[in-house]
Symmetry: C2
Subunit: 186 residues, 2 copies
């Protein structure tokens, strides 16, 4: 079965490699996952793995895209519920948050595979959120004190910043902070 969407991995083998990498990252942390481990988990040679992903970082970036795809499949009409759900899920996946923070930091390097990925990701998620905010504003569920675009950028950046902080102080309730800001913007 071929996966669809902006981050469709194209071939079943690629999808297998990404899924195996995700499992290994969630269990061991991305710093400890090697191409050899991923190849072994799928039952192919390291060379075969490198045929699909030219570097370990390219494969790690694909894992973030794969997780986003799952998120995109959810109902985004209820913006609050959507954001809070993601934050709550992330609170159970420290290794996924670590991967995200590390790749986001590396994305400033235009040569790194994370750069194009994050540029596209920010544009895409901002558009989706902006539409959801607009719908909420038109329905009177959110004030228009902050524009739909600014609200979308603010919520995404707040969530990214909260995740960085949460890695250092895990008692931080990310979902609650998002909820409080949204309530303050009603």
């Amino acid at each position: 079965m071929t996966r669809r969407g902006p981050y469709a991995v194209g071939t079943e083998r690629k999808a297998q490699l990404v899924r195996a990498t995700e499992r290994l990252v969630l269990e061991h942390g991305h710093q400890n996952v090697t191409m050899r481990m991923v190849a072994a988990a799928v039952g192919v040679s390291e060379a075969a793995a490198y045929h699909h992903f030219s570097s370990r970082d390219e494969l790690l970036v694909a894992v973030i895209g794969f997780r986003d795809e799952g998120e995109g499949a959810r109902d985004v009409v209820d913006l609050v519920h959507h954001l809070v759900t993601i934050a709550a899920e992330n609170q159970r996946s420290p290794h996924a948050v670590e991967l995200f923070a590390d790749m986001a930091a590396k994305a400033s390097d235009r040569q790194h595979p994370a750069h194009a990925f994050f540029a596209d990701r920010y544009a895409r998620i901002t558009k989706t959120l902006e539409e959801a905010v607009l719908a909420d504003q038109r329905a009177g569920r959110l004030s228009t004190r902050l524009s739909a675009h600014a609200t979308a950028v603010t919520l995404i950046s707040l969530m990214d910043g909260l995740q960085t902080r949460w890695l250092v102080t895990p008692d931080l309730d990310m979902a609650d902070h998002l909820r409080q800001l949204i309530d303050a913007l009603r």
Copy 2:
């Protein structure tokens, strides 16, 4: 002259090493700065540099602390002005923002020198901001829809998240986004 404050470097030699590292980071980016370069800039041996900082990352973390010290010396009564000033300054220092993002991502590792630094930094900056927000709320310059603590955590996390995004999409106006949120919370 001995520096004072929570991140006082203690000896003039340490201060020289940190200042030299800051200059090299701003010019070349922290990924390209070696202990050898720092030692040469100060005119000491690499061994002497390692006497003061047991690792390159410990020295890089000290640079963030050194820059914070400068920030702390500013007038924080006007919260908006303070935050906007930092964001505007950061927009002129991509290499400083890269250093911050990279060390923040590494801080999740309890063995890394960035961990204790960031835990302390979040606590300290949150306290300072919370007091400034409370003063603004009492003076009627900010609404109390969002608590002083939640406002402080939100503004710090938003700034951190905006910086990560700005590294990928440099046309983002970080200062303007902070200003817009604060205006929406008046």
